[in-house]
């Protein structure tokens, strides 16, 4: 077991990080619902959360920022800025969608994004990641499962 863990350290850490992220987003959704019901509009809550969420990351990355500003190519910064903008786009359009249609319809459709990731990776970054049938079938099962859970909760 120990040998296997050492040999697959990157993969174990990567999947572990993804699961922690899912737990964070999943728990955050419960807290977000409470905020939107009782305290603030989604847009104001998201804006404040983005600012507040930046502060711990500023502490975590402060030792490396100056060095990275000097050494990281501009293209990487542009790509990361686009990642931030695309994510903000996603959040904004999700709020707009919820305003237009029931959550039971919007949430499963918004949840198909892993399938879009697979399509985009295949179209633009084929050489970076191997897309296997297990990846595609796994994504279809998760997207379908999340849709069923959403329908079951409504």
């Amino acid at each position: 077991m120990k040998v296997w863990l050492q040999a697959n350290r990157t993969i174990v850490l990567g999947y572990g990080a993804s699961l922690i992220s899912a737990a964070g987003y999943g728990t955050g959704a419960v807290v977000g619902r409470k905020i939107v019901d009782d305290y603030a509009s989604p847009l104001v809550a998201t804006a404040m959360a983005l600012v507040l969420g930046s502060l711990p990351l500023l502490l975590l990355s402060q030792r490396h920022i100056a060095n990275e500003i000097d050494n990281v190519p501009r293209r990487a910064w542009v790509m990361m800025a686009l990642a931030g903008l695309a994510s903000a786009w996603g959040v904004a359009f999700m709020f707009l969608a919820v305003a237009e249609a029931p959550v039971v319809l919007v949430a499963p459709i918004g949840g198909v994004y892993p399938l879009f990731v697979i399509i985009l990776m295949y179209l633009f970054l084929k050489r970076s990641e191997r897309i296997t049938w297990q990846t595609i079938l796994g994504a279809v099962l998760v997207v379908g499962g999340v849709a069923a859970i959403t329908v079951g909760r409504e």
Binding site: A22, S87, G90, F93, E100, V142, G145, I149
Partner: protein, 140 residues
């Protein structure tokens, strides 16, 4: 129909974010990259929020602020930092699929704390999510 198109646009935004992050994280540390993506996102969302709801920021109160603080911690230092760490280590397609299972955690909380009941679609959905994640994790 408008709601469906807007939800698809949202999904495309989330997907594009993972793909752009995948490219950028080859050259930027994950903490710095996450911070930079948050600052860019915050700048855009803050401008829109201030323009549309200027008075709301001062009306939230201490308790509301504390809830938003908790929300920000769960979504960004936890959610997005580990999201980008996963994207960097196992790739965008696999990490995004695992991360998209987050409603499973919401459901567990809703059942254990909120007292929601379990029904057939929830059981089948949970099994499908576990099977899908298992299939992805079991790849060599």
């Amino acid at each position: 129909m408008t709601g469906i198109l807007l939800a698809l646009s949202a999904a495309l935004g989330f997907a594009a974010s993972a793909v752009f992050a995948r490219v950028a994280l080859r050259q930027i540390r994950v903490t710095t990259g996450t911070l930079f993506s948050l600052v860019v996102g915050a700048a855009v969302v803050l401008v829109i929020a201030v323009a549309l709801h200027p008075s709301e920021f001062v009306q939230i109160g201490i308790i509301g602020f504390l809830w938003i603080l908790l929300y920000s911690f769960l979504n960004f230092p936890v959610g997005r930092l580990f999201n980008f760490t996963g994207v960097q280590l196992v790739g965008a397609s696999r990490a995004s699929t695992i991360i998209s299972a987050s409603p499973l955690f919401t459901m567990v909380l809703a059942i254990s704390i909120g007292g929601e009941s379990v029904n057939l679609p929830i059981v089948l959905g949970t099994l499908a999510v576990i099977a899908g994640c298992g299939l992805i994790v079991s790849q060599r």
